[in-house]
């Protein structure tokens, strides 16, 4: 396991193949132990969902005015997590940020799994999820069509496009890597990889079209990343509810999404690096770069929080002020102050380089950020709906065992997908890592311009 650590600081092309293929070796007991734990938690979540379908939405503690409660909180949380992957693979690709190469595959996989997790929540939340296809525009006998002026319909389009394009981007990136796996595998694995690699050979004609297409995917995905969470934020901002009705929401959500997404990348990549011995590829400077992005987005988020308070006060709007005051001082005050601590105070430790390269500190900060960002969505949704305009429509929501089990189960589902992925597919990109290495040259004097 520690072989990779002892290889020279700059691995050669064949080292990359060897080390990445090594991550796909048959897993040990620890892996299966993790898998079992995660699968058990997921089973609990599925049972809770079955119970909710059987009994009805009341089983999940859903009642007016808090209908959105935990499910939409968790939905927005997972969509946010899904941002870092495409940010790393598309935006940082266009900016030629070379440090992205070793982590982008894991981050992209994370994106897809996070969006797949998020996608479950509107279904769970809808209650009778077998009618979910009503959301899609399809010809029907009653000539009924979705209302394209509704942010909820924009959301359907934004998220399904995001899932499709991220998946295409991910698969296109995988093709040359699977070809590398094919050429070192034998037997039935070789046959499967041969099929999945589409017979990729790496001829210059293939690369020519591939690189052009990859750049175009990145160019298409870049505005898409920024649009998805903007559209999700309009689910709220287009409504008149105090605490939601703000033009600040789109950049506020996108920034928060990047913030939490990077935290989740660290949560996944730090153990991956440890257990697979990928220290030669995922170096401290990569963690450092991600930590800096977390720090920057944390500072921007703090600015947005201040703006939120300022605009509520400066608007002079009675309801806006009352809503904010209630949120910060009454029943849910603990949640908002927890959020401020996790999102604004805890990441400040990343100002120190020693913290940015210390995996324990990074891990703790990332977990805190994830908790903080989950509570951010909770604070946007639950208290705002709890105290809107009419006092007779006010209400307090507390999670029930059913929706708690479903939310925890969603984490299990996400980790189960990721654990499965790292043993089936190269979790570090073979091709992109090689691209950042100096290519092998015979005459070193000639190669001085590298």
């Amino acid at each position: 396991m520690n072989e990779a650590r002892t290889t020279a600081t700059t691995p050669t092309f064949s080292d990359v193949n060897r080390d990445v293929i090594k991550t796909l070796a048959p897993p040990g007991n620890l892996y299966f132990a993790w898998m079992s734990v995660v699968a058990l938690i997921l089973a609990g979540g599925i049972l809770a969902w079955a119970y909710q379908i059987w009994i009805g939405m009341g089983a999940a503690g859903k009642r007016t005015p808090q209908m959105w409660a935990m499910y939409i909180t968790t939905f927005v949380f997972w969509i946010g997590i899904g941002h870092a992957g495409t940010l790393i693979s598309a935006i940082l690709y266009l900016f030629r940020a070379r440090w992205r190469t070793s982590i982008y595959r894991a981050a992209e996989a994370m994106t897809i799994f996070a969006v797949l997790t998020a996608g479950l929540f509107p279904l769970i939340h809808a209650g009778r999820m077998w009618f979910a296809y009503f959301l899609l525009p399809y010809p029907n006998q009653r000539d009924l069509w979705p209302n394209f002026r509704s942010p909820l319909v924009w959301d359907v389009f934004a998220i399904s496009t995001y899932l499709s394009i991220s998946t295409v981007f991910f698969i296109v990136g995988l093709v040359p890597d699977i070809a590398a796996l094919r050429d070192s595998a034998t037997g039935w694995r070789r046959r499967i990889y041969a099929m999945l690699s589409l017979g990729w050979e790496g001829s210059h004609e293939q690369w020519r079209h591939y690189r052009r297409a990859y750049g175009l995917f990145a160019a298409l995905a870049t505005p898409l990343v920024l649009s998805v969470h903007s559209v999700v934020s309009w689910d709220f901002a287009m409504a008149l509810v105090p605490g939601w009705h703000s033009t600040l929401f789109a950049p506020f959500f996108v920034n928060g999404a990047i913030f939490s997404g990077f935290a989740m990348v660290l949560v996944l990549v730090i153990p991956m690096r440890h257990f697979f011995g990928l220290h030669a590829y995922i170096q401290d400077r990569h963690l450092d770069a991600m930590a800096k992005l977390i720090l920057v987005t944390s500072l921007v988020l703090t600015y947005f929080y201040l703006c939120e308070v300022f605009t509520a006060w400066y608007s002079g709007d009675h309801f806006e002020r009352a809503s904010l005051f209630w949120r910060m001082t009454k029943e849910y005050a603990w949640a908002i102050w927890l959020m401020y601590f996790c999102n604004c105070v805890a990441p400040l430790v990343l100002f120190f380089k020693r913290a940015r390269t210390n995996t324990v500190v990074l891990y703790v900060v990332s977990i805190l950020v994830l908790i903080g960002m989950w509570f951010e969505r909770f604070n946007i949704i639950v208290p705002s709906l709890g105290r809107a305009f009419y006092p007779y429509a006010w209400g307090i929501y507390w999670p029930s065992p059913t929706d708690t089990a479903i939310v925890i189960g969603s984490f299990a589902w996400f980790f189960l997908l990721f654990l499965g992925f790292i043993k089936l597919m190269p979790s570090v990109s073979v091709v992109e890592v090689k691209e950042t290495l100096p290519p092998p040259v015979k005459d070193a004097a000639h190669a001085s311009h590298h």
Binding site: T12, F13, S14, N17, P137, D143, W145, P146, N147, F148, R149, W154, F157, A158, S160, T161, S164, I165, V168, F169, V172, V175, P176, A179, A180, D183, S184, L198, G199, W200, E201, G202, S203, H204, E205, Q206, W207, R208, H209, Y210, R211, R212, A213, L216, F217, L220, A221, P223, L224, S227, V231, V431, K434, E435, P439, P440, V441, K442, D443, H446
Partner: protein, 186 residues
Amino acid sequence: MPPTTETVLGVFAHVDTTVRALEELRAKGYHDVTVYTPVPVHEIEDVLERDRPVSRVRLFTLLGGLTGIASAFILTIWTSAKWGLVTGGKFLQYGPGGGIWGASIPPFFIIAFELMVLFGGIATLIGLVTLARLPRVRPSPAFDPRFTNDRFGVAVHCPPERGPSVHEILSKAGAEEVRFVTGASV
């Protein structure tokens, strides 16, 4: 009938020797060359793409994106005219200022954007698969599994009588291995 072309494959361990071979082949007038590399390498691309146009994948992207925009506006405007939803006491109707001119265009830009990206992306994928001739059921005869690891391959397709001289160019440039590929039909 004897084959009209032959393929000579040189396997290289280094980029500079590969580039040397390619320059030499160009100078001698061999243009029907296939180069296999584990990663795209700038130096090799520089030699090969001197006389090649930019990949046509971008045309697919453009057409896909435009189709996406058009279909989004058609879908949203047509359905909102077909299913008149009363908003603010007003009903979207045909007639002066009504019909498609009465449609609320600004929110439809969001759908248009999403479908532009979706169709553009899918068209790019179709473009890539078509232009790169994927999927390939059988590997091409000159392909060697080492080319996805750390070796570079130069396959030269030439008339059979030129085979020995191509063999010489490749070995002279520094190929670790040169061989005639059997069963190659270009």
